[in-house]
């Protein structure tokens, strides 16, 4: 969906949600994972996002884009989940690859040795991103992975834009420091 206007969605509520699921389902799933770091929980939350979107369809007035609306629901549900009695007891510590697809070094480049080093660096970067606290991780993921602007991130997370910018700045600095300590940064 290239337009954010609600008008481009089917008039039927269920059909509209179906279209949103096809368009944004995986993005919502991955966003949930970036918060929860648990694939099973992320799958539950991603489905819950669309059910909640269906229930609150009237609140989507098309003033914001569909994805920011869905992301906002996702963020709220993830925060809710993260605070739930069952889950909050342990902050997530698992590696992004721990429960997922095994990652093999990317050796598609000309120089396999260089490719392995590069792959290792990326892996470490991703580890560092996932080690950031939720407040900083969310801005990094939303900004760099989901391509949201700071204005959109503010809308999604309920922060003011200055807070988002501050966190983005700090998160970058933290990542830089971590990369330098880890020997990745040049």
């Amino acid at each position: 969906m290239s337009q954010s206007d609600r008008a481009v969605l089917p008039a039927d509520r269920a059909a509209a949600i179906d279209q949103l699921m096809r368009e944004y389902g995986t993005k919502v799933l991955h966003l949930a994972y970036s918060y929860l770091k648990d694939r099973h929980l992320a799958e539950d939350v991603a489905q819950e996002v669309f059910i909640k979107a269906y229930r609150n369809w009237d609140s989507f007035r098309g003033e914001s884009s569909a994805y920011t609306w869905l992301y906002r629901i996702t963020v709220n549900l993830c925060r809710d989940k993260a605070r739930s009695a069952w889950w909050r007891r342990l902050l997530p510590t698992d590696d992004p690859r721990a429960a997922g697809t095994p990652v093999e070094p990317d050796t598609t480049g000309d120089d396999p040795e260089e490719a392995v080093v590069l792959s290792d660096q990326r892996e470490r970067l991703m580890n560092y991103v996932m080690q950031l606290s939720a407040a900083y991780r969310e801005v990094i993921i939303l900004y760099y992975y989901h391509d949201l602007t700071t204005v959109e991130i503010a809308e999604v997370t309920g922060q003011n834009e200055n807070t988002v910018k501050t966190r983005l700045f700090r998160a970058r600095a933290m990542l830089k420091q971590m990369l330098q300590k880890g020997g990745v940064a040049q």
């Binding site: 509520r13 179906d18 699921m21 096809r22 389902g25 919502v28 799933l29 994972y33 970036s34 694939r39 799958e43 059910i51 269906y54 229930r55 609150n56 369809w57 009237d58 609140s59 906002r72 709220n76 549900l77 925060r79 809710d80 605070r83 739930s84 009695a85 069952w86 909050r88 007891r89 342990l90 902050l91 992004p96 997922g100 697809t101 990652v103 990317d106 660096q121 990326r122 892996e123 970067l125 991703m126 991103v129 606290s133 407040a135 990094i140 993921i141 760099y144 992975y145 391509d147 309920g158 922060q159 003011n160 200055n162 807070t163 501050t166 966190r167 700090r170 970058r172 933290m174 990542l175």
Partner: protein, 526 residues
Amino acid sequence: MSDIDKELRHAIKEEFDRSLAGWTFTPEMRQAVLDRIAREGEPEATPVSTPASTTLRRFRPAYWVAAAAAAFVLAINLWPRVSTDSPMTGSAASGGAPESARTTARAPAGDPAEELKIMAVPLDASADTAPGAAAAKQDAAPEVQVTGVPDASGAAVQAEPDAGRGVEAFGLSAESVKVALRGDEIPAAADTARGSWMFLQLDDRGGAQVAEAPADETVSVQTLQATPPEVLDLNPLANGNVVVVNRALVQVVDAYGNRVVETAVDPAPSAVAFGPSGESAVVTSDAVLRFTAEGMLTGSIRQEETPALVAVSGDRTALADSEGIKVYVADSRALTLPGLQPSAMAMAPDGALALLTGSPQGVRLQIYSAEGQLNLDQAVVPEGEGFGFLAGGRLVAVGSALYDRNGGQTGRLPIAPSRVSDLAGGQGVLAWNSQQVARLEAGGATARWVAEVEDGSILQASGSARGDLVVILASTADGPALWVIDESGNRRYAERLAEWPADATAAGDQILLLTAEGLMVRNLNR
């Protein structure tokens, strides 16, 4: 965009995509959503929020006029107290347990026997408040089976689900207050009439440092220099002090930021669980550290594996890991329940363990005595994720259903809670989910009030140190919003926040917000 930004974006995208490659929102997931939508049917267009028979307490502009007038006087009177060592007004005498547990349900400090009887009475029998009346009524109800009582050999009796059958909800009586909360009714965050936040920077080396904000503005993150310690949890104590757990320290500070006790924690803690009386268990990568309610380190349980669940009560600590459940008394293992992988675990003040086991399609409530005897093994159908002991451990909340120790369903909450817990001091029960918060009467069978956020989602609700107030933190269309509601359903306080706190609660006359940068304190009366 700078080159560094481009590189970072490229690297993050590439690696994130690669690590999650092939993991998509599948057609099965989509169909599952559509099936649920089909079952639910068309949602209500507009939630009913104002039944004619209930008293809707609207947010009154007059409140702000009064608050603005009082703020000036109170600011002068209260500001010097920042640097004193005196405890918070009234808190020391409260004698109650701290606010609801983070990982285990808390029980009031007093004897809750009377509450149990009353809470067990269905709504339509609210007049039967004499001790034993509820039990008698329960016995008389054929639909509610008292099951799971150990037979002579000590083996537990297994029972089938009886969720909801013949059990009335703790419904809204005509006297119950329905509170409609809307973020757009709260004045903007820039409102200065209520004074400023007092900011307590929780430094990970030197302890709490008080930094006063300018009187006419809310403190922003830009005022801080140091890299903030990551905060985990905030727990107000009955004596007015506050336990703050961050990545480096467990600190107890008084309500004005003065450090009372401080213990360095290394390796960094990853989680904390609180017991019924404020005792805590702090989880690190190689140990579980035990703290008293006063923040004193009392012991350490070495662990080779980070536990998945932790429950604590007094000097007992239960840890669930891949091998099963291990129960420790002080630092010595007292009991092992091998092979159990519960999805939820709670410990009662007497050491009994309540577990939810089984699969999502076949959830079972199990209760073990402190000695490890299985006293109850019963199928349940949870409506809501809330789980824990209530009423001093005599009841177990499984979602919206309340069971006694024998498995008899004694009541049903008016909402399907994400969390449910006793309020401190036996002040009642707090249950909440993403839309509603219910405060249940401790001395009656009805909800005292139910609050609903109409334009957002509730992220957290917690009781105050005295159990008299409930703090609600919500995400609204206008950003983070905070409400404080008293026993009667009156809004004592409301504010839009500039950023998300990690935790929020109230103690005495103070609102406490734990942010990534430290503890923020504000007087409720401002």
